[in-house]
């Protein structure tokens, strides 16, 4: 088996002999004692045939429970929205799929324009002036925004609301700890909104970070938050879900300086959490402080409109250790995928997704509370996701386990015996009712015991 090699050893040998080189001497530079000869139980000697490869992978995939076979109510940063068929068909075109970073503008206008369109959509949804070409994911994008704020403000401490997804908080801690910066967490009030207070030593913060809708689904007051952040001399940074922005006031109109987040909810597969695509948008004023690639419009030598990577002098390949970040790629294909999603859905489709997700979530919340088993943890207005607390003694982990037998992936169990439940437009009323019935059934059995 030759794997994916179009030549075998004999033809390689013949090719090299034609230029007077011996195949056996190709690795002469490697000291003899380093030449590797070993075997492993984990890697078979010979390659598999294509059918054997897919059979092996299919067998692994079949060991999982997925959200097609099961009704999933998991969210917490990754959401199961529908992806129109056209999106995958277009992004699987090899011209998008296999191309490198668009370094040669003449033969990469497709990727360039798709990135420019991503930037355009992100600006339109967030209400901010400029967007970069995308980041690894929402968590690393938030961490980069914190570093960007520290560079801009020449301060080394950031304030992060406790309503920010713990995945993001942990990532921020790693990034900031690396350079000796400090992360201070702020609490939530009874509505589930970030408590409106000024952190101590207020003038030492480079940024205040909030998430809306936050980890518990609660919609935050971005305008009030931005005002207070600015009063303390800090930049106001918000992590926002893009679907929610069909209904919610864009962060740019609330005075937010940097908006970040994950684009996964724009129809990308859940993929066990990755890869996804992060976004980052900011004001014109902060453009040159922003990390990551940026695509810009210009003209070619004949005056034709075209696109290039621009404002590159901030980047690692030019500035090396003085760069704004070490990031040297973006998630181009996934940004393209999210862009095509937005093109397919349009404003009306996106709004419909948001409205139906919310209406169904409200229905489910209402019905679950009606059972008398749960109460909402927070009172504030929410989007797509909410946290419940059992009124009586109810083991949520056992409940989730029982739900699995009914073909349901229940909500995520949070510390403090809270149940985080997400609902997207994909759920039918029948599915929601089935969920409610299964929960009631389990609770009934528990009581009977």
């Amino acid at each position: 088996m030759n794997g994916y090699l179009p030549q075998d050893r004999a033809s390689r040998q013949a090719m090299l002999e034609s230029v007077g080189i011996s195949l056996d001497r190709l690795f002469d530079m490697v000291p003899d004692q380093l030449r590797f000869e070993g075997e492993s139980d984990h890697l078979q000697k010979e390659g598999y045939a294509e059918y054997e490869v897919i059979r092996a992978l299919d067998a692994l995939a079949s060991k999982n429970v997925d959200s097609k076979r099961f009704d999933s109510y998991l969210g917490g940063g990754i959401y199961d929205h529908y992806q129109p068929a056209a999106v995958r068909h277009l992004t699987q075109r090899q011209e998008f799929l296999t191309a490198y970073t668009p370094y040669q503008a003449e033969i990469s206008q497709g990727t360039m324009q798709a990135i420019f369109e991503w930037q355009s959509y992100i600006c339109r949804l967030t209400g901010l002036d400029v967007s970069n070409a995308s980041m690894y994911d929402g968590a690393s994008s938030a961490a980069e925004a914190m570093l960007m704020a520290c560079r801009t403000k020449k301060r080394s401490r950031v304030f992060v609301s406790e309503g920010v997804n713990p995945e993001i908080v942990k990532t921020i801690r790693t990034y900031l700890h690396a350079v000796g910066f400090e992360v201070v967490l702020g609490a939530l009030d009874k509505n589930g909104q970030t408590e409106s207070f000024l952190p101590a030593e207020e003038d030492e913060y480079a940024a205040w970070l909030i998430q809306s809708p936050n980890y518990y689904g609660i919609v935050e007051d971005l305008t009030g938050f931005a005002e207070k952040a600015h009063a303390s001399g800090a930049l106001a940074v918000a992590s926002c879900d893009l679907i929610s922005l069909a209904l919610l006031k864009p962060p740019g109109e609330c005075g937010i300086d940097i908006a970040v987040g994950d684009g996964q909810s724009l129809g990308l597969p859940q993929n066990f959490g990755g890869p996804t695509v992060g976004y980052m948008a900011t004001t014109n004023e902060l453009l040159r402080r922003m990390p990551g690639r940026i695509c810009g419009e210009t003209v070619d030598r004949d005056g034709k409109r075209c696109y290039v990577l621009t404002i590159q002098a901030r980047e690692q390949h030019i500035r090396r250790e003085k760069a704004t970040s070490n990031i040297c790629s973006n998630q181009a294909l996934l940004a393209t995928s999210a862009t095509i999603y937005l093109a397919m859905m349009g404003e009306s489709g996106l709004r419909e997704v948001a409205l139906q997700s919310q209406s169904k979530a409200m229905y489910l919340l209402g019905k679950l509370v009606e059972t008398g088993l749960f109460e909402p943890v927070f009172k504030g207005a929410f989007f797509r996701e909410f946290a419940l607390r059992p009124v009586k003694d109810l083991d949520l982990v056992a409940l989730n386990k029982a739900l699995l037998d009914d073909g349901i992936l229940g909500g995520y169990v949070l510390p403090g015996n809270m149940w985080l439940i997400a609902v997207t437009e994909k759920k039918t009323l029948a599915q929601l009712d089935r969920f409610i019935a299964a929960v009631t059934r389990f609770a009934g059995k528990e009581v009977a015991k």
Binding site: P31, Q94, L125, V130, G180, D221, P275, G296, T310
Partner: protein, 485 residues
């Protein structure tokens, strides 16, 4: 072929509403304006409602302005533009993988965890490492993660004065940038005339060794040269109390021939989008898993997979973990492709990959070394550098011109003007998946362009001639940024 004008999608007019993608509402809509009050969006988001066929045509036409690996040879040095197997795309999109959620209970994701467990063992074997983390989202992200591990190691030992990372001048720009991201200072060492690390310069850079956190090395280097002193280099750093970081950007050149762990490296990142054939996607998503020796295992990012009896589970907390560098587990979908590629090759196949990569590059170099100037006579591995220095001084044709002219001949140009230490550099990496015929055609094109530079320099300087656009005005783009529509 005519290239269609493609106005920016958000500026296109449409009347068809995209609600066809959403099931009919079974419940009355929430009144968003009333429910969210001041937090609700005033008016509608400014996104056009387009017909499906409009969207399909737009992006199909855009794609035609791109060049992919299936269009032709893509000899971008250091980027490893090999064939991306189709079956890997099918594997990654299997519902059982693609539609799993990262917060599912471990019992419902045994297939995912088994795949990651297996892959960790395989990559560890390939690299001579003990453990792997799947967190980093890209090569540069892997560098940062690897350096955080090194930093955590020194800190745990109370060895906090070590804040210098040694980086050779031929390194990728990400190396110094990554060192900066973990708060390290960079000390650059020069390459010698053979393109290897100058041992005397390294010795001087290490000095008394007290401030040395470690060394980052790409081997083979960005010049395509395997540093024959690698054992001595890593030993010098170890003796000074530092750790050795292997930048795996060029692992494809030596895979299964020699292992970073055996060369004295303690931590390594891989670019699976290079060595293991996952598609580049126009700039991502890639993945940069990081391998490490047991001395660094206590600091592994979370979560990672553990096996108990026959069950797999995710470990979310450890005492000394460096934490997380991104959300959730990692770019799982990319690792499905990586795993499929490793299965398809097997150990023998992976060894043939590196042999094929070096064979193809060596053949091309031998064929071209008399037509272009070469910066060093040292034998190169999977990629080589030729320069347009002579063409530039004699005929005024520079490397950018040669690159653009290659486009006219149907090829993607090589990496240009990198590494920075070689003037007018062209870094050529044909990869192992090209046939001899493919290589010969590319060689002919290079030769023809060298001739044209002498006979018809304006033809070369005016290239490319048949592309949708030519020679964009980058100065205007940067001076008056237009970054959205």
């Amino acid at each position: 072929m005519m290239y269609k004008d493609t106005p920016v999608i958000v500026t296109q007019k449409g009347e068809v509403e995209g609600q066809r993608m959403v099931p009919k509402a079974e419940l009355p809509h929430v009144d968003a304006a009333a429910y969210y009050g001041d937090a609700s969006r005033p008016g509608k988001a400014p996104l056009p409602n387009l017909a499906e066929i409009t969207v399909l045509r737009h992006y199909t036409n855009l794609s035609l302005k791109n060049y992919g690996v299936e269009n032709g040879t893509y000899p971008l040095g250091s980027c490893t533009m090999k064939y991306n197997p189709k079956i890997n795309e099918d594997a990654a999109s299997l519902t059982g993988f693609a539609q799993t959620h990262p917060l599912q209970p471990d019992s419902t994701i045994q297939g995912n965890l088994e795949l990651l467990w297996d892959l960790e063992k395989q990559l560890s074997f390939i690299c001579g490492m003990d453990r792997f983390t799947f967190q980093p989202a890209a090569g540069a992200h892997g560098e940062m993660t690897g350096l955080l591990l090194i930093k955590a190691y020194h800190e745990k030992r109370g060895d906090t004065d070590r804040n210098v990372m040694i980086v050779p001048d031929s390194a990728h720009g990400t190396n110094p940038a990554s060192a900066m991201m973990v708060g390290y200072k960079v000390r650059e060492v020069k390459s010698n005339e053979r393109g290897m690390v100058d041992l005397a310069a390294l010795k001087a850079a290490i000095g008394d060794g007290k401030d040395i956190a470690g060394l980052m090395l790409t081997n083979p280097s960005t010049l395509g040269i395997f540093d024959e002193n690698v054992i001595e280099i890593t030993k010098m750093v170890h003796e000074a109390g530092g750790l050795n970081y292997y930048d795996g950007a060029n692992l494809n050149a030596i895979m299964m021939q020699v292992r970073p762990g055996d060369m004295g490296f303690d931590v390594v990142h891989l670019n699976v989008h290079k060595t293991f054939s996952t598609p580049h996607g126009g700039g991502g998503p890639g993945a940069g898993p990081v391998g490490l020796k047991n001395i660094l295992a206590p600091f592994l990012p979370v979560p990672f997979v553990e096996k108990q009896d026959d069950q797999f589970r995710l470990v979310h907390e450890t005492e000394d973990t460096i934490g997380k560098v991104r959300g959730f587990i990692g770019s799982f979908g990319i690792f499905v492709r990586t795993y499929a590629y490793i299965l398809a090759n097997g150990q023998d196949g992976l060894k043939a990959v590196s042999e094929g990569a070096v064979a193809n590059s060596t053949y091309m170099f031998e064929k071209l070394k008399n037509d272009y100037k070469v910066p060093t006579s040292t034998k190169t591995m999977h990629e080589f550098i030729i320069t347009s220095e002579v063409l530039k001084s004699k005929y005024g044709v520079n490397t950018m011109d040669v690159a653009k002219r290659l486009i006219d001949y149907g090829f993607h140009p090589p990496t240009v003007y990198f590494p920075l230490i070689v003037p007018e550099a062209m870094m050529v990496e044909p990869t192992e998946t090209e046939t001899r015929e493919d290589l010969d055609q590319l060689i002919d094109a290079f030769k023809k362009i060298a001739e044209e530079a002498a006979t018809e320099p304006d033809l070369v300087k005016g290239a490319p001639h048949n592309t949708p656009i030519a020679r964009p005005n980058e100065t205007q783009a940067a001076r008056n940024p237009v970054l959205k529509a």
